[in-house]
């Protein structure tokens, strides 16, 4: 364990180093006149824009709106995805019945439902939540499904021969065994749900980070646009890292390669 945390610290160090080099090159490019700051902005300006947005409170409002929509949409996606995935993984008939719809959700450009959701839910937070849900749900469901299906049959048989009922089997054998797959699905879903939030806000909202990007983009304010973009990148990294941490914690009892 100590080795892995040391590796984490080293990768954080090299990460900071490489971001510093990129930012320095960017800034120097602007100073040397190679890059046009009207199009690319510059790191120092973006940083001061971030500080300014933080001081006026605009940053906090946008982050709060986006984060709230994301948590609600992704929370629903995780809940529905896990429930449907478990049902479909446990009962074969349910799997066969839901399979075509899962395929459709995977291959459809789900953002295309944005105009329909606007008609249903109006222009605002609920449409954003619905898009985040729709995008985040399929990977959670698909991974849970295959996780439950792949539960070791010999474990199931062993538990049964010791007198486990369906409920015990489910709670004590199937559920713990499919945790890694579920977590992998959640990790995929996080990214997609965040994408859903940002795009839905970009298309039409009154607040949020995606809204800020679109708003400043239309005014050609590259610096403010980049500042919001930076916050979104940070949110994405934080969400994925948070889930990875959760995964390590839930999966720490597992021994050996698995």
């Amino acid at each position: 364990m100590s080795g892995s945390s040391g590796g984490w610290r080293a990768s954080l160090g090299s990460g900071l180093a490489s971001f510093t080099v990129i930012a320095a090159a960017w800034e120097l490019g602007v100073v040397a006149g190679v890059l046009n700051p009207f199009f690319t902005s510059r790191p120092t300006a973006i940083l001061s824009a971030l500080v300014e947005q933080a001081l006026t409170g605009a940053l906090l409002v946008n982050v709060r709106v986006s984060l709230g929509e994301f948590l609600l949409g992704f929370g629903l996606a995780a809940l529905v995805g896990v429930v449907l995935g478990v049902l479909a993984g446990w009962y074969r008939t349910v799997e066969y019945a839901l399979d075509p719809f899962l395929w459709f959700l995977y291959s459809a450009p789900l953002i295309a439902f944005y105009p329909i959701f606007v008609i249903w839910f109006g222009l605002g937070a609920w449409t954003v939540v619905a898009i985040a849900f729709l995008l985040g749900m399929p990977p959670v469901m698909a991974n849970t499904l295959s996780g439950v299906k792949r539960v070791d049959r010999s474990l199931v048989r062993a538990a049964q021969s010791f007198g486990a009922r369906d409920r015990d089997l489910f709670l004590h054998v199937a559920l713990p065994a499919c945790v890694p797959m579920v977590m992998a699905g959640l990790k995929l879903g996080v990214g997609r749900a965040l994408t859903g939030v940002v795009i839905a806000e970009l298309f039409g909202a009154t607040a949020g980070l995606g809204f800020a990007i679109g708003y400043h983009g239309q005014l050609l304010q590259t610096t403010e646009m980049m500042a919001s973009l930076l916050v979104i990148v940070a949110l994405g990294v934080a969400a994925t890292q948070g889930l990875a941490g959760l995964e390590r914690r839930f999966d720490s009892w597992r021994t050996g390669p698995g």
Binding site: S14, A17, D99, S107, G217, A239
Partner: protein, 252 residues
């Protein structure tokens, strides 16, 4: 363990959903303006095909998609393989690549529009940015996952660096690269549609946005279905290639 066959259950469930969707507006349970109906979608689809509108918009979207994907392949495949072979490059480039990979890259759309305008170029760039990262990341992982014993064996039998690359590392990482391409195709298709929905004058995404704002849900859903079928066909095609190019790996 006798359960009804898969196709029967699947067909039955799709048929019953379609039937409920068709009947609910007729029974007055929901407003057809908000939900449309399968029969309406089919009818408007025939209209869209007959007037040639489908092909006019699809041609533009396809052009953008394939241009972006080609760029992503040309840069992503060599880039990923190089990244996988060089530890020093990886140490420097991994953090920004992973940060971009974790972030919703479609958020770059307004920036790309400012840089490249509202025409073809910004959509090609969106497809490229969506597709290139999975290709790079999988390619790099593929190179590193080539079995060390194979590399050692080749080396001890006197393989040069070039031989090692073309005969061991390249074929060994091909399945991973193709898996990346499959992910990239999906991202690219989403990128075209979203890019056109954001700002454009022509294309399927443009139609989806316009039809949505004029409440023509049946036509909108027809376009959505067309893109879904295309997405399904494209990913299936890449998956076939993926399977064909890994005959030497007996397992998995």
């Amino acid at each position: 363990m006798t359960s009804p066959p898969r196709w029967a259950v699947s067909c039955l469930s799709v048929a019953s959903v379609l039937a409920a969707w068709e009947l609910a507006p007729r029974a007055g349970l929901v407003d057809v303006t908000y939900l449309s109906q399968p029969s309406l979608i089919v009818r408007s689809g025939i209209g869209i095909i007959a007037t040639g509108a489908l092909w006019r918009h699809a041609a533009v979207s396809l052009q953008e998609f394939f241009a972006g994907l080609l760029l992503a392949l040309l840069i992503g495949v060599p880039g990923g393989l190089a990244l996988g072979s060089s530890r020093r490059m990886r140490r420097f480039l991994d953090p920004p690549i992973m940060a971009l990979y974790a972030a919703p890259r479609l958020a770059l759309l307004p920036v790309l529009v400012v840089w490249l305008g509202i025409g073809l170029a910004s959509k090609v760039a969106v497809v490229f940015i969506g597709a290139v990262l999975p290709i790079v990341i999988n390619g790099a992982a593929g190179i590193r996952e080539v079995e060390a014993s194979l590399v050692l064996a080749a080396r001890s039998l006197g393989a040069h660096r070039i031989d090692l690359f073309t005969k061991v590392l390249l074929p060994g990482s091909l399945p991973a690269v193709m898996a990346g391409v499959r992910l990239g195709v999906g991202r690219g298709i989403l990128g075209v549609v979203v890019g056109e929905m954001y700002v454009s004058q022509v294309g399927i995404g443009n139609q989806i946005m316009q039809l949505g704002s004029s409440f023509q849900i049946d036509q909108l859903l027809f376009y959505t279905m067309v893109v879904s079928v295309f997405g399904l066909a494209a990913t299936t095609a890449v998956r076939r290639l993926e399977e064909r190019w890994r005959p030497w790996s007996r397992e998995r």
